[in-house]
């Protein structure tokens, strides 16, 4: 069972490394909660203004400006085929790295809300499609989607 990060601490370097790798940011995307690897999360900000790209698939909302740079914005709920939730009261843009470490790119995800930081042990994850959807795991009484952001840049 996953647990809030602040409630436990590891012993030794291996434990600490394992905990860091299993630390995720939980966000709400439509009907689902999703876990993003915290090491790949750069910023969480109030939803950025997005400029649409004509002809883009629904997953790509468009482009935004962030820190003086152009930022592609993907709709997280669409990426995981989640039904839309109620109108979010505090929608966010989560700025993340995607792709393999040697070729990572910065993009933004739109999400309905940022929830909390949790630890998800690897052995708690039920394998998913082996790509962007790494699997599912129980967190706080809810099954959450564990996302593999390296795969999003790799599966082209």
């Amino acid at each position: 069972m996953a647990e809030p990060v602040a409630s436990t601490s590891g012993n030794g370097n291996d434990n600490r490394r394992a905990r860091l790798e299993g630390t995720h940011l939980l966000v709400r995307a439509g009907e689902y909660a999703c876990a993003l690897p915290l090491a790949a999360v750069r910023r969480v900000v109030r939803a950025l203004a997005v400029h649409p790209l004509p002809g883009a698939a629904g997953e790509l909302e468009g482009l935004a400006e962030f820190g003086g740079e152009p930022l592609p914005i993907l709709n997280l709920a669409r990426l995981i085929n989640a039904s839309p939730g109620a109108n979010p009261s505090y929608p966010v843009t989560v700025v993340v790295w995607v792709g393999p470490p040697e070729a990572r790119e910065t993009i933004g995800f739109t999400a309905d809300a940022a929830l909390e930081v949790v630890h998800v042990p690897a052995d708690a994850i039920v394998a998913g499609d082996g790509g962007f959807l790494q699997g599912e795991a129980p967190v706080g009484g809810e099954v959450v989607r564990i996302l593999n952001l390296e795969a999003l840049g790799r599966d082209l």
Binding site: H51, L53, P54, G55, G62, G68, P72, A103, T106, L156
Partner: protein, 111 residues
Amino acid sequence: MSVPHAPGFLLLRRAGGVWGIANAAVSGLARQNGGYRIATGGGALAADEILGVVESLAVRPAALVMRRFWPEATAGLAVHGALPVVMVDPSRPPAALRFEDGEGETDEGRD
């Protein structure tokens, strides 16, 4: 309306987005009904509004992940002010920018 044949970029608005094209690729610019027709070596482009010309832009390659969800070719991405700008490859312009013959008659300008 003249087009400065100088280093820099022409910025335009079309289909809700802001686009940039290198001045060197532009051979003419003419008003059309309610918009503009931009002549380039790769064909005519359409614009709803001309935002101006800038001397320089920091052009970055478009993220590879964009290709998965947007099939159009680009010459990169940039930011002007707080606006993201898609740089147009004049030899492969996005469909949204292609000038269609039925868009209106030219009423002034030159090519």
